[in-house]
């Protein structure tokens, strides 16, 4: 197992390094000068552009830029943002990461608790009215564009009913001396609509995966045997069937782990959620290379990590993988 893990870690590191190189080259190859838009339509003075090129190392050949960047990455220095000068990319990512983790984490939590439960429920009631309704509802949610659903929720829940805030992560007027509970409740109020928007459009995937996996397992002989032994329905479903039907959903969790970092660009924009998704979108539109690289590295890291954790999860949970 140690050997397998070492091999897998090496694979992950190589994937990460290759992605890093590819990202760097692709970003530099993309047309558009990052310094061309610093003053809107009014160009900067030529002297100023030269100063900025020097500051960001953009006056150097690409090979030298890459070497300098890699040397920085090794030391944990991801450079200085062009659009947010003089803030470092590291500090920007640190500022934005908690908001994204909170939103993405909540969505994953909803998906992999409610989604699994609903998927199991559908499998138990296969072909009946409840199954059909849940299928229709989840697919309707799946087919909705997230930004559109977000705008509808804002329009109805925030602006018409005035139940929840339309945007932001915290109340900007919250007193500096507000207690922890007040702050948590405030964040929770702001979290409801963006998390609901993302959950509604992604829940169907988990439900469908879980339903299909459960139906396959429920047809197996050992389930029939469990029922024959007089186990209750709850015991059969959760202790025997679900444990065997969780693997496809585990794969899905690995694939969706990057949501924690990338979040949803549209949802973050619509709800003015101060996360990494909106930071990345802004960096793309302004060609803020250092920030783009920083967010891309983080996202790549989570993709690689997600896949690694899925493989490790399989290894730990499924004896067939351990002893082929």
């Amino acid at each position: 197992m140690t050997r397998w893990l070492g091999h897998r870690l090496l694979q992950a590191a190589l994937t990460f390094a290759a992605s890093l190189l590819l990202l760097f080259v692709l970003m530099r190859a993309t047309p558009g000068d990052p310094l061309a838009r610093l003053e809107g339509d009014t160009p900067l003075a030529p002297g100023e552009v030269e100063l900025l090129r020097e500051r960001y190392g953009l006056d150097q050949p690409m090979g030298r830029q890459l070497a300098a960047y890699l040397a920085g990455v090794v030391q944990g220095d991801l450079g200085v943002s062009i659009g947010h000068y003089p803030l470092s990319v590291g500090s920007l990512l640190r500022d934005r990461l908690p908001a994204t983790l909170l939103l993405g984490g909540t969505v994953l939590l909803v998906n992999f608790t409610l989604g699994i439960w609903l998927g199991v429920l559908q499998a138990r009631h296969r072909g009946r009215r409840l199954d059909r309704w849940l299928t229709h509802l989840s697919l309707a949610g799946y087919s909705m564009p997230s930004f559109w659903l977000g705008l509808v929720l804002i329009s109805v829940v925030s602006l018409r009913w005035r139940l929840l805030p339309a945007a932001q992560m915290v109340d900007p007027l919250l007193p500096a001396d507000a207690g922890t509970l007040t702050r948590m409740l405030d964040v929770a109020r702001h979290l409801v609509l963006p998390a609901l928007t993302l959950s509604v459009v992604t829940l169907a995937g988990t439900m469908r995966y879980q339903r299909a996996a459960m139906l396959q397992v429920l047809r197996q002989d050992f389930i029939r045997a469990a029922r024959a032994r007089g186990l209750t329905d709850r015991q059969v479903i959760w202790r025997h069937a679900w444990r065997n039907a969780v693997f496809p959903v585990l794969t899905l969790l690995g694939l969706w782990l990057p949501i924690l970092v990338t979040g949803s660009v549209f949802v973050e924009y619509v709800f003015n959620w101060p996360g990494l998704g909106s930071l990345a979108a802004e960096a793309i539109s302004t060609r803020d290379y250092p920030v783009l690289m920083g967010t891309a590295i983080l996202a790549t890291g989570f993709v690689v990590l997600g896949n690694l954790l899925t493989d490790v999860g399989y290894l730990l949970l499924d004896p067939r993988v351990r002893d082929p």
């Binding site: 160009p43 805030p165 900007p172």
Partner: protein, 542 residues
């Protein structure tokens, strides 16, 4: 010194003193689309930083209500309580002895000299150094008098000296090397001398300022200001509609104006801007500045293209009551603008005749004119981020088609559009310039000398150059000369000057004494107050 003529600020509610027991103090939450990351003079880049810096730092003098940048009359004292013209090359500023930095230290001539030293150094602030190139020397006479000498006689001496420099505190900064200032602790918590002091900034979210008690030009009644960041225009409007925000600079897109107007708590105020939008004709070949443009180098063709567009209808469709047709490269607010000027009239028939005259005929009946086998076909570049420009570009394309001109619309990502514009890789470019209050910037964009810089279309007419230069130097009646230069310029049709818009500012109705200065949006905030009896929870929280 103060001119009473054209009122460019909007005073929306007259004064009414608060009754005993009632307060007119309050908090303003301003929703903004760009983040102020470095609101420190000499480091400033972008409008967001300048808007915040204008609350933290005063100038020697600010522009008066007429926004006239030439001459010495239309200026209002700030750090300097008066200015004396000693001769045609020398101005002496008398600093107000009450002026203080937020740490309590008096503002002195040393601070002004220190800042001029940095602002005039091209290695520190190249853009500002260029603006101050005619300043020959800045010296102090005692603690309170600053003498500025110029190297040439011209109309905007006072404007250059008073407007482009916001003094920095020498006692806090003289030990910090200029190239370290941006990363120094001071830049993250600047100490200024204005009506507001810096409180805190949550990167990516908000920035908070507080009113300075006992501010010598009048303590602000709005004593807490929060700039709330929302990059998406839709999210900005939602923050107003759900009551989080109190004010925003420009409600957009136009459909949202009605939504804000439907809310009884808010008013929408048209505020003219220094912006002008135009379809710029490249005088040089696409991507090759060594050759003239095969079609657009001909002034007859350019005039025909300008004449073919129904600009009034286009501007009305795009901006409604918030836009005017631009008659030249000047915005609604420029003091040199001639409201009665009509540079180009809409006449498609005459436009077609001009094209015939230039040899462009539809010889093969395909609806597109041609000459010597080459079709009259042009590419129009525009940034995809601007919905207004996208809509106007489509209208222009349709109207040009009616006179036999084929125009391909090229929608580009912002940085790509800017890059192509800078390299001259366009036939027609949909430009929108946010200009300085001074018309001097026109020289850079429309003179032969400007071809090395912002004159990206390579337009050059020595006669226009000469008129612009005379207007710059004139001190007695510069308006007449500027208008003459503009007439000569628009006659050449280097562009179709399309729109000069106003912003649709949204402001909560509880505020009185609301003044919005177009040259510096929130700089009059200290004159705002809350109508007594109309305070809401955030105004009472101290």
């Amino acid at each position: 010194m103060r001119r009473s003529a054209p009122v460019l600020t909007l005073v929306l509610l007259a004064c009414s003193a608060p009754l005993p027991g009632q307060s007119d103090r309050g908090t303003a939450v301003i929703v903004v689309g760009q983040e102020a990351t470095l609101p420190v003079p000499t480091l400033i880049s972008g409008r967001a930083n300048q808007d915040v810096a204008d609350l933290l730092f005063l100038r020697l003098m600010r522009l008066g209500p007429g926004l006239v940048t030439a001459g010495d009359r239309d200026f209002v004292p700030e750090l300097a309580r008066s200015v004396t013209r000693r001769d045609s090359l020398t101005l002496a500023f008398d600093l107000d002895p009450q002026a203080r930095w937020h740490d309590g230290t008096p503002v002195t001539a040393r601070d002004v000299l220190f800042t001029f030293g940095r602002a005039r150094d091209p290695a520190i602030d190249p853009s500002r150094a260029l603006l101050l190139r005619h300043v020959a020397s800045v010296t102090a006479e005692g603690e309170r008098t600053v003498v500025v000498r110029f190297s040439r006689v011209y109309g905007e001496q006072l404007y250059d000296a008073a407007w482009h420099v916001q003094p920095l505190p020498a006692h806090l900064l003289d030990t910090i090397p200029p190239d370290r200032l941006a990363t120094a602790a001071y830049a993250q918590r600047p100490v200024g001398n204005g009506a507001y002091r810096f409180v805190r900034r949550d990167p990516g979210r908000q920035l908070e300022l507080a009113g300075v008690e006992g501010f010598y030009l009048g303590a602000p009644k709005i004593d807490r200001v929060l700039f709330l960041l929302a990059r998406d225009p839709e999210a900005q409007v939602n923050l107003i509609l759900d009551g989080t925000g109190d004010a925003m600079e420009n409600v957009s897109p136009a459909a949202n104006i009605a939504r804000v107007r439907d809310r009884a708590e808010y008013r929408v105020i048209p505020v003219p801007t220094f912006t002008v939008g135009y379809l710029l004709f490249n005088q040089r070949a696409y991507g090759d500045r060594g050759r003239p443009h095969p079609v657009l180098a001909d002034v007859t063709v350019r005039r025909a293209l300008a004449m073919a567009l129904d600009r009034a209808t286009m501007v009305r469709a795009a901006f409604g009551e918030f836009g005017q047709v631009a008659e030249g490269p000047v915005a609604q607010l420029h003091w040199i603008r001639d409201p009665s000027a009509r540079a180009v009239t809409h006449d498609p028939r005459q436009a077609a005749a001009l094209l015939e005259q230039a040899g462009w005929r539809d010889s093969d009946g395909d609806g597109v004119r041609d000459r010597r086998g080459v079709p009259l076909s042009l590419r129009l570049n525009y940034p995809g981020t601007s919905a207004v420009r996208a809509s106007l570009a489509a209208q222009a394309q349709a109207q040009w088609r009616t006179i036999g001109v084929r125009v391909e619309l090229v929608r580009l990502d912002g940085p790509v559009w800017a890059e192509r514009r800078g390299k001259g890789e366009f036939d027609i470019d949909f430009s929108s310039a946010s200009l300085d209050p001074s018309p001097a910037g026109l020289v850079q964009s429309w003179s032969c000398a400007g071809r090395a810089g912002s004159n990206v279309a390579g337009y050059c007419n020595p006669a226009v150059d000469s008129l612009l230069e005379r207007a710059l130097l004139e001190r007695r009646d510069p308006r007449r000369l500027w208008r003459e230069a503009l007439r000569a310029l628009t006659d050449d049709a280097p562009a179709v000057f399309l729109y000069a818009p106003a912003n649709a500012a949204a402001v909560h109705r509880r505020f009185a004494g609301v003044t919005i200065r177009p040259e510096s949006w929130w700089s009059a905030l200290r004159q705002w107050r809350v109508t007594p009896g109309r305070q809401i929870a955030r105004d009472l929280r101290r």
